[in-house]
C-alpha cells in the first residue's frame, strides 16, 4: 500500500505484547478495541528452534502494533531452559572433557541466544491480563516468571544501560463481575503479591502498573489510552498544543481529545482532568458520525472516502460537540461550552446577543485553530 501524503503516523516503533493465561480475556479485548479480524495475520516467531509462538497481529494503532500472544506458557520456557542447559552440559563435557563448567556461562548463553531474545526485541510494553474472577495465583506466578525472563534477557543483551525499559501493565480484568469492595481488595492483593515476588527475585526498577478493566465499559479504553500515551515521545508537546488550542478559543472549550478513530483510544488530551463521561460522549460522537456518513456510502464510495470527516452538533443545553479529522484515523473531538462563548461574544460585540451569531463566530474560531493544530502536528510527526 502506498502511503498518501496525508497518511501520517505517530512515531512509535515499539511493540506491545498482549499476554496472559488462556481465557483471561485477551481475544475479547483485542476484538473490542481493534475489532478488525479480517486484517488479522498469523505470524510465527521462531524461538530458537525449540518452540513456535504464534503471534496474532490483531490491530494497528497508528504505528503501534499490538500482538496478542497465544499459548505462551512460562513453564514450557523454563523446561526449554533446562533442556538447553542439559544439552550444553553434554556438549561441553564432550568437547572439553573438563569439569569446571560454569553454570552462569550456560545461563548467559541461553539468554543471549538470538532466537529467544528476539521475542523481547523492540518490546516497549507488555500488557498482562489477569482474570480477576478466577483463582489467579497461577497467573501471577506466570507473570513473575515472565518479568524475570524479560529482565534477564535485557541484562544479557544490554551491558551498558542499567534501566530496564519494558513497561509492564497489568490488567486486573473482568472486574464487572466483582462488587466495589471486593474489586479494591483484589487489586490490593494482586499488587502486594507481585511486589513481594519481585522483591524475592531481586528485580528492581521495573515499571509496573495496574488497571481495573472490563470489556463492558470504558475502563478498557481508558487503560489502553494511558498505556499507549506512555510510548508517545511527543506527548508533552502535543498536550501543550491542545492546551493552547483551548486558550485561543477564549475558554469556551471544556475538553479536547485527540482520538484514534478505529480503536477510540485517545492519544492525547489537554491537561485538565479527564471526566469519563466526557470521554464517553466524545467517543460515541465519532461512532454516530461514522454511522450517519456510511448510510449513503454505497452510492459513490470513491468520492466520499476522500472527504475529511467533520461533524458538529449543538445540544439543547449549553454544550456543542465538534469533531474533525486531522489525518487518516486521527481526529480531534471537542466539547464546547457555549455559555462561556456567549459571554465572549457579548463582550466583543456589545449589541449582539443572538446566540446563533456567536455560535458561528466560535465555530470559525475553532475551525481556524484546528487548521493551525493540523499544520503543527504534520510538521512534528514528519
Amino acid at each position: 500500500k502506498v502511503l498518501q501524503s496525508d497518511d501520517l503516523e505517530l512515531g512509535l516503533r515499539k511493540k506491545i505484547l498482549l499476554m496472559g493465561l488462556d481465557r483471561s480475556g485477551k481475544s475479547s479485548i483485542s476484538k473490542v478495541l481493534f475489532n478488525n479480524e479480517h486484517q488479522s495475520k498469523n505470524k510465527v516467531i521462531n524461538l530458537g528452534n525449540y518452540v513456535n509462538i504464534i503471534e496474532n497481529l490483531k490491530g494497528k494503532l497508528l504505528d503501534l502494533k499490538v500482538y496478542e500472544v497465544e499459548n505462551f506458557d512460562m513453564n514450557e520456557i523454563l523446561q526449554l531452559q533446562q533442556l538447553y542447559y542439559n544439552n550444553n552440559m553434554v556438549s561441553k563435557n564432550i568437547n572439553s572433557g573438563t569439569e569446571d563448567i560454569n553454570n552462569m556461562d550456560i545461563e548467559d548463553a541461553f539468554y543471549k541466544d538470538s532466537g529467544f531474545s528476539k521475542f523481547f526485541d523492540d518490546v516497549g510494553t507488555i500488557i498482562y491480563v489477569v482474570d480477576s474472577t478466577s483463582e489467579y495465583l497461577a497467573s501471577l506466578a506466570n507473570l513473575s516468571m515472565l518479568i524475570e525472563l524479560a529482565y534477564k534477557f535485557h541484562k544479557a543483551s544490554n551491558y551498558t544501560s542499567d534501566d530496564f525499559n519494558i513497561n509492564f501493565e497489568v490488567l486486573i480484568h473482568k472486574v464487572d463481575s466483582l462488587n466495589e469492595d471486593f474489586k479494591l481488595d483484589t487489586q490490593r492483593d494482586i499488587m502486594q503479591r507481585i511486589q513481594d515476588e519481585l522483591l524475592d527475585l531481586g528485580i528492581e526498577n521495573v515499571a509496573i502498573n495496574f488497571y481495573l478493566t472490563s470489556i463492558f465499559d470504558y475502563t478498557i479504553y481508558e487503560a489502553f489510552s494511558r498505556i499507549t500515551q506512555k510510548l508517545i515521545l511527543e506527548l508533552p508537546f502535543i498536550e501543550n498544543l491542545l492546551d493552547n488550542f483551548i486558550m485561543n478559543c477564549h475558554n469556551s472549550i471544556e475538553k479536547i481529545f485527540l482520538f484514534d478513530i478505529n480503536s477510540k483510544i485517545y492519544i492525547s488530551t489537554d491537561s485538565s482532568p479527564v471526566n469519563i463521561l466526557s470521554y464517553e460522549v466524545c467517543s460515541e460522537f465519532i461512532d454516530v458520525t461514522l454511522d450517519l456518513r456510511d448510510l449513503y456510502e454505497d452510492e459513490n464510495p470513491r468520492k466520499y472516502k476522500n472527504k475529511p470527516l467533520k461533524a458538529y452538533s449543538r445540544l439543547n443545553n449549553d454544550f456543542s460537540i465538534y469533531m474533525n479529522e486531522v489525518f487518516k484515523n486521527l481526529c480531534v473531538v471537542i466539547l464546547v461550552n457555549n455559555n462561556n462563548s456567549n459571554e465572549y461574544a457579548n463582550n466583543e460585540l456589545s449589541n449582539t446577543t443572538n446566540s446563533n451569531v456567536s455560535n458561528k463566530m466560535l465555530m470559525t474560531l475553532i475551525d481556524y485553530n484546528f487548521n493551525v493544530l493540523k499544520g503543527t502536528l504534520k510538521k512534528i510527526l514528519k
Binding site: S278, V281, V288, N300, Y304, Y312, N317
Partner: protein
C-alpha cells in the same frame, strides 16, 4: 387544535418482549436495560403524547396465563375486564419466535381476535414476530413467512383481512421500522406532512428529506429525489434500511448526550457529506441530505434550512384549517 386519542393494545404471551419494546421506543431504555424488566402485573397504561395533538393510550397487557385468562373470560355479570377490548384502534400482538408453545400462542391470539371482532371490529391488526436475533440469519425470512401465512389465515377467520406483520428484535433497527409503520398508520394529518416534505424535497433539490418524531425518533414520512438526472443516486439503490438505522443512531446519540445533561440536540451536521439534522419544532426533527454539497455555499444551505424550519414552525396550527 383538535386532540386525537387512540387506544393501542399490546398483547402476547409472557416474556415475548412487549414491555421491552415499549420501554425502548417510548422511554429511552437501551436494549441492554430491558433485562431489568420484570413480568408485567395486569395492565400497565401509558399515555404518550405524539406529534403534539395525538395521544396514544398504550395498554401493555401482562401476558402470564392468569392475566390472559382474566382478560378473556366471558364474565357477563361483572363486566369489569371486557372494556379492555372496547374502542381499540390498534392491536399489536407480539410472538416470541423462540416459543416452544406456538399452538398455544396462536390459540390465545385467536381468542383475542374473537373478543375484538365483537367489541372493536374496525381495529387494525399488527403482528410482530419478535426476538428474530435469536434465529440464524439465513433462516429468518422463511420462518417469518411461515408464521405470517399461518397468522393471516387465523385473522381472516375472524374477519380481519388487513393484517400487517413485521420481523422484529430489540437488538437491531427492525423494531423502529415496525413501530414507525404502526404509528404512521394512525396519524390523521399524515397527508399534510407528506405534501410538505415532498414539496421541500423538490424545491431544494434534496437527495432525501425524512421527518422524525422527536421523542421516539419514529419516522413520520419521507421523500427522496426522483431519478431526474442520469446519475447513480436513486431511491432504488439507497439502503432500504436507512430510516431505521437513522432512528437507531439518533436515539443512541440522544442517550449518549444525556451524560452531559442535554435532553436532546438542536442540530447535527456532517457538512462534507451533505447531512443536516435539524430541530424543526416541538415535535419534529428533519433529516436532510443535500445533493452535491460541494457545489453549495454554506450560507445558502443555512438560509434554506431556516426556510424549512419556518415551514414547519406552525404546521400543527395549519392542520386545524
Amino acid at each position: 387544535m383538535e386532540q386525537t386519542k387512540a387506544k393501542l393494545l399490546l398483547m402476547g404471551r409472557s416474556g415475548s418482549g412487549k414491555s421491552s419494546m415499549r420501554s425502548i421506543i417510548f422511554s429511552n431504555y437501551s436494549a441492554f436495560d430491558t433485562r431489568r424488566l420484570g413480568a408485567t402485573i395486569d395492565i400497565e397504561h401509558s399515555h404518550l403524547k405524539f406529534l403534539g395533538n395525538m395521544t396514544l393510550n398504550l395498554w401493555d397487557c401482562g401476558g402470564q396465563d392468569i392475566f390472559m385468562d382474566s382478560y378473556l373470560q366471558d364474565n357477563n355479570e361483572t363486566n369489569s375486564k371486557n372494556h379492555i377490548f372496547q374502542m381499540v384502534q390498534v392491536l399489536i400482538h407480539v410472538f416470541d419466535v423462540e416459543s416452544d408453545e406456538v399452538l398455544k400462542d396462536i390459540e390465545i391470539f385467536s381468542m383475542v381476535l374473537q373478543k375484538l371482532r365483537n367489541s372493536s371490529p374496525n381495529c387494525k391488526i399488527f403482528v410482530l414476530i419478535h426476538k428474530m436475533d435469536l434465529v440464524q440469519i439465513n433462516k429468518r425470512d422463511n420462518l417469518f413467512n411461515i408464521m405470517m401465512s399461518k397468522l393471516k389465515e387465523t385473522c381472516s377467520m375472524y374477519g380481519f383481512d388487513d393484517v400487517k406483520g413485521f420481523p422484529t428484535s430489540i437488538w437491531d433497527e427492525s423494531l423502529y421500522k415496525a413501530w414507525s409503520s404502526i404509528v404512521g398508520s394512525m396519524i390523521p394529518t399524515i397527508d399534510v406532512y407528506r405534501k410538505k416534505v415532498k414539496k421541500i424535497t423538490e424545491l431544494m433539490n434534496l437527495k432525501e428529506f425524512i421527518l422524525f418524531e422527536k421523542t421516539t425518533f419514529l419516522v413520520v414520512c419521507s421523500s427522496a429525489e426522483k431519478n431526474n438526472d442520469n446519475e447513480y443516486v436513486t431511491v432504488d439503490n439507497m439502503d432500504p434500511k436507512r430510516f431505521e438505522k437513522i432512528s437507531n443512531v439518533l436515539k443512541t446519540y440522544k442517550q449518549s448526550i444525556y451524560k452531559l445533561k442535554a435532553n436532546n440536540f438542536q442540530e447535527l451536521q456532517i457538512p462534507e457529506h451533505g447531512i443536516y439534522i435539524i430541530n424543526l419544532n416541538d415535535n419534529l426533527m428533519g433529516f436532510i441530505n443535500i445533493n452535491k454539497p460541494e457545489w453549495m455555499n454554506n450560507n445558502l444551505i443555512e438560509k434554506n434550512l431556516q426556510k424549512v424550519k419556518l415551514m414547519f414552525s406552525n404546521i400543527e396550527q395549519d392542520n386545524t384549517d
